[in-house]
């Protein structure tokens, strides 16, 4: 479900890219009528798709001026590329769902997009910045505080553990810090409770992006890119070296098993193979459905001697961007839709049904009052991690060519874990190669 499925890799050719361009052209050229139609391109599948369709239906039924048409456009990279191609052909949809690593690209394309906050104000809709969960909305907000896109579905990195295995290995309390994780891992390994004490999904997201914010340190200069496109990586630091060095050592000792670059770790955990796991909070539903053991969720581990830790973690998922070049009446409809989507009832429903983070504090309070967290222990851990005031270092990551940078992080991590380089040279390579990508991005990005 949710984040990781829609993030799934997709086999697409350049030919299909062209087809998307054509399809984009066809989809929007509908006959004019009294009802203003609003195209909403998204990447949600299964139950999440059903929920979107249901939201659209309810919105359409509640008023008669606008008709929202949700269109599934394939995986995240697919719908983003399709929207860009459609924009270049002059046929962009009104709303497109873009995954978090596409944020800097969308933001740099001023003119191609309309900031959500401006949209709401122009349309005369009520908009209160302080209503939103800071670490969620902050990711999509400029340094001056203007919210650019609508944070529709967000998850964050949390820690899952197999209670049965921990008990068998004699670990009394679930580990909170990395030193407790490795101590528990050693016990699990030594007792033979599991051959795979710890694994992870999304290594870059967990061990670089969230890791830096959680320790209230910068991943890149210019406040992680929020200050401007001149950002460069700041990963050759003692803290990163310590963590990468630890990962390499734990892997060598068989305490940490590298699963892969995306969601491969999920199945290793819920199949019972690995005892402890870091990954997206949105995996909850899958774990609950598949795990044949008692499991628990707790906050992402950290190094307790680092001042400022734990701060908040980094979100993943996607937000809704409003494309430029549309009529004022259409934007009014989009604004009304966003007002509808951010109402506490809808937000609470979305949060409880999908496992994504609530967008507003009111939705969190409503969910808490309903007793949902007591009935589903652990579902509030992700919210607890996020519901703090963010700092300039922890607001989010706004780096261009982020897809390439993640690849680079994973490549160097794999080289390191295969024993072909040490932590220091892995981080030096990440910095050198990542900075090349950032410099390249900077040349076409305007603030």
């Amino acid at each position: 479900m949710s984040t990781y499925q829609a993030r799934g890799r997709a086999g697409w050719s350049r030919r299909a890219f062209g087809a998307a361009l054509l399809a984009g052209g066809l989809a929007v050229s509908m006959p004019a009528s009294a009802v203003t139609e609003i195209q909403w391109w998204h990447s949600m599948t299964g139950a999440n798709n059903d929920r979107i369709v249901s939201f659209a239906e309810r919105f359409n039924k509640a008023q008669s001026d606008y008709k929202v048409v949700p269109v599934y456009k394939g995986s995240y990279p697919e719908s983003m590329t399709a929207a860009i191609a459609a924009y270049r052909a002059g046929n962009a949809p009104h709303i497109v769902q873009v995954f978090e690593i596409g944020t800097a690209t969308m933001m740099a394309a001023r003119g191609a997009i309309v900031p959500v906050e401006k949209l709401m104000k122009d349309a005369g809709e009520k908009f209160d910045r302080s209503a939103y969960v800071p670490a969620v909305a902050g990711y999509y907000t400029t340094r001056r505080g203007e919210m650019l896109s609508f944070p529709f579905n967000s998850s964050t990195t949390v820690f899952f553990y197999n209670k049965d295995v921990l008990a068998k290995a004699g670990v009394a309390a679930p580990p909170q810090t990395w030193s407790e994780v490795v101590a528990a891992a050693a016990k699990i390994k030594a007792s033979g409770a599991s051959a795979c004490p710890y694994t992870t999904s999304w290594p870059s997201w967990v061990h670089m992006e969230s890791f830096s914010a959680w320790h209230n340190t910068l991943l890149a200069s210019e406040d992680n890119g929020f200050g401007g496109p001149g950002a460069r990586l700041l990963v050759t630091t003692p803290l990163f070296e310590r963590h990468f060095g630890n990962l390499a050592r734990w892997a060598k000792d068989g305490l940490f098993v590298y699963a892969g670059r995306t969601t491969e770790g999920d199945a290793k955990f819920f199949s019972g193979e690995c005892a402890m796991f870091t990954g997206s909070s949105a995996v909850y539903g899958n774990v609950k459905r598949n795990a044949k053991f008692a499991f628990g969720i707790s906050k992402l581990p950290y190094y307790s001697d680092v001042p400022g830790a734990p701060q908040n973690t980094i979100i993943g998922g996607a937000s809704l961007w409003v494309m430029g070049g549309k009529k004022a009446a259409e934007y009014k409809g989009v604004a009304k839709l966003f007002t509808f989507l951010s109402s506490p009832e809808i937000q609470a429903e979305w949060h409880q049904a999908t496992g994504y983070l609530p967008l507003t504090i009111a939705a969190y309070e409503l969910t808490k009052k309903s007793g949902f967290y007591e009935k589903n222990p652990g579902t509030d851990v992700a919210v607890q991690q996020m519901i703090v005031k963010t700092t300039d270092k922890s607001r989010g990551i706004r780096l261009g060519n982020m897809a390439q940078i993640r690849d680079i992080v994973h490549e160097e991590m794999e080289t390191m874990l295969a024993g072909k380089e040490d932590a220091r040279s892995a981080l030096a390579n990440i910095k050198r190669r990542g900075d090349e990508q950032l410099a390249r991005f900077q040349r076409t990005a305007r603030e």
Partner: protein, 268 residues
């Protein structure tokens, strides 16, 4: 039209650095190319592509020829064999990649389990050589049916009288194959060689994407996968276009070489 237009477009895009929306675009001349060829990792991608393409083509052709040879000689169950061998062609490349990834999955995969029992620690998630073996196996498997059909047709068009004549002359099965059948099959083999090289170069990215994603490190990142990844996932159109141009040039040269030198040895 269907070749020249995209090729010209790629050539045009390759001299710019631009944002994905085309809002700001900077003419950079050959800088995209200079950057590529100044990158040791890109140059290494040529080596990986060569290893991958040679392995896929050679193993694919040899295996399907052997299968076709035996299917041609099979008396009972020939139809069943043929049908079963053609099935993989109907499987989408991405599915093929996922299928093999599951078979070789270090913890769940049955093949990985057998290998473990034989004393081979299989972990293609971190072992580059094993990852390469995995994508070669998946790519060969996907293409075998196509080759098989052509080889089988080629074999069936060889007059029985020639083979009988060879038998009367006292030639064994291997000798008959080498001196009579293989030369008569050479047009088919040549055609398949060209097709398979193009296949390995161009059409395998979906398999690689599903099976390894180019990793671990860059162990299975062939040229076409990098084009796809940088252009489609990374939205770096300039660099991706420059890489496409490089790929087109390589393919033109390879095809030229094949027609110029290999075809001489083909007897129609």
């Amino acid at each position: 039209m269907f070749f020249y237009w995209p090729a010209a477009e790629a050539l045009f895009q390759s001299v710019f650095i631009q944002d994905p929306f085309g809002a700001s675009r900077e003419f950079v001349g050959l800088e995209n190319f200079r950057e590529l060829f100044g990158d040791p990792l890109y140059l290494d991608s040529f080596r990986i592509t060569a290893v991958f393409s040679v392995a896929v083509t050679a193993i694919g052709l040899a295996l399907s020829l052997a299968l076709a040879y035996f299917a041609d000689r099979a008396i009972r169950g020939a139809l069943l064999f043929r049908t079963l061998l053609i099935v993989p062609y109907a499987v989408a490349p991405a599915i093929a990649g996922v299928l093999w990834m599951f078979l070789f999955n270090p913890t769940l995969g049955i093949v990985a389990h057998w290998l473990g029992a034989m004393g081979v620690a299989w972990n293609h998630v971190l072992d580059g050589t094993q990852a390469m073996i995995l994508v070669v196996v998946a790519a060969v498997w996907k293409q075998i049916s196509y080759n098989f059909v052509f080889f089988l047709a080629g074999l069936q068009s060889i007059p029985k009288s020639l083979i009988e004549a060879a038998a009367i002359d006292g030639a064994g099965a291997w000798r008959t194959f080498r001196s009579v059948i293989f030369p008569l099959l050479s047009p088919t083999t040549f055609f398949l060689l060209v097709i398979n090289v193009v296949y390995a170069f161009i059409e395998t990215f979906a398999i690689i994407d599903a099976a390894t994603g180019g990793g671990p490190a860059k162990a299975t990142e062939v040229l076409v996968y990098k084009v796809y990844n940088d252009g489609f996932k990374g939205l770096d159109i300039g660099s991706s276009a420059a890489q496409s141009v490089v790929l087109i040039v390589i393919l033109l040269v390879l095809t030229f070489v094949q027609f110029r030198y290999v075809e001489r040895r083909v007897r129609y």
